[in-house]
């Protein structure tokens, strides 16, 4: 499984990448929505995108809209990972086609929980 981690903060990318790697994902990074689209357009196969909202050049919201408009990318699971936590923002992102929404700050357990909900990580008979 491969995940595209999109955030203008290198710190945040590092944190998300570490959590995803420990769950068995390979990762690719982008600093904003435009770069992320470039990654997809280059033919990179991606199962999951973890998307910050506020980024220069192209926001995560616009990335979601663009991705959902392209039939070739229909199967990519889109999860917002952002500080934007107002009710209206979450509704807006889901309406645009985001599948899930993780509010910062989050723990690695929270990422795992969301990916289990999305069927990207197995539920296990464990703690």
């Amino acid at each position: 499984m491969r995940a595209l981690v999109i955030d203008d903060s290198r710190t945040m990318r590092r944190i998300v990448v570490a959590a995803l790697r420990s769950l068995g994902f390979e990762t690719v990074e982008a600093q904003h929505g435009r770069e992320a689209l470039d990654v997809l357009e280059s033919g990179e196969e991606v199962d999951l995108a973890c998307i910050d909202w506020n980024m220069p050049v192209m926001t995560g919201y616009d990335f979601v809209v663009a991705t959902r408009a392209n039939p070739e990318w229909r199967d990519i699971t889109l999860m917002m990972v952002t500080t934007e936590s107002e009710h209206g923002q979450i509704v807006k992102a889901l309406a645009a086609g985001a599948h899930e929404y993780l509010i910062k700050p989050f723990t690695p357990d929270a990422i795992r929980d969301k990916l289990q909900l999305l069927g990207l990580v197995e539920y296990e008979e464990t703690a």
């Binding site: 203008d8 903060s9 290198r10 710190t11 945040m12 590092r14 944190i15 570490a18 506020n54 220069p56 952002t82 500080t83 934007e84 936590s85 107002e86 910062k104 700050p105 989050f106 723990t107 929270a110």
Partner: protein
């Protein structure tokens, strides 16, 4: 911003937000972050990180702490052990991200907030005549930390 936030609950909420950020991403130990019992002074070698919120109630959320503390926060956030160097770029990015996450959550307390600016990190606070609305003094493992809320209108 003050018109939009009940300053009475702000103090409790700002601590709750900071505590969530710290517990989740910096220091999982419960109780590591506490409200300061008395006013705390930062050293001359301090680090300031802030984000601005545009919109109807323009404001600023700023973090201030000693440079050494900011370095410890960076190491914790990035999981960099003591014997490894931290680049200036990593430091600025990490501290800025803390301000970004704290600021983003505080912003959610205001009705119809605008977007956040990119975080800025500097050895001196911005001297642009913003009005101080609230100061929250915290202590992280004995290190002072200040979170301030400003009006920019």
């Amino acid at each position: 911003m003050s018109a939009a936030i009940d300053m009475g609950i702000f103090a409790e909420t700002v601590f709750a937000i900071a505590e969530e950020v710290f517990t989740a991403m910096i220091d999982p130990e419960p109780g590591a972050l506490q409200p300061a019992l008395e006013p705390t002074e930062l050293s001359e070698d301090a680090t300031w990180a802030w984000v601005d919120v545009h919109g109807e109630h323009p404001g600023r959320v700023m973090l201030g702490t000693d440079h050494d503390t900011a370095m410890l926060l960076t190491r914790a956030l990035l999981a960099v052990p003591e014997d490894e160097a931290v680049s200036e770029a990593d430091f600025v990015d990490a501290v800025g991200e803390i301000a970004n996450v704290v600021g983003g959550n505080i912003k959610a307390l205001v009705p119809d907030p605008g977007p956040l600016t990119l975080p800025q990190v500097a050895p001196v606070p911005p001297g642009d005549g913003a009005t101080l609305l609230h100061r929250a003094q915290l202590v992280w493992r004995g290190h002072p930390l200040v979170i301030t809320l400003w009006s920019l209108s």
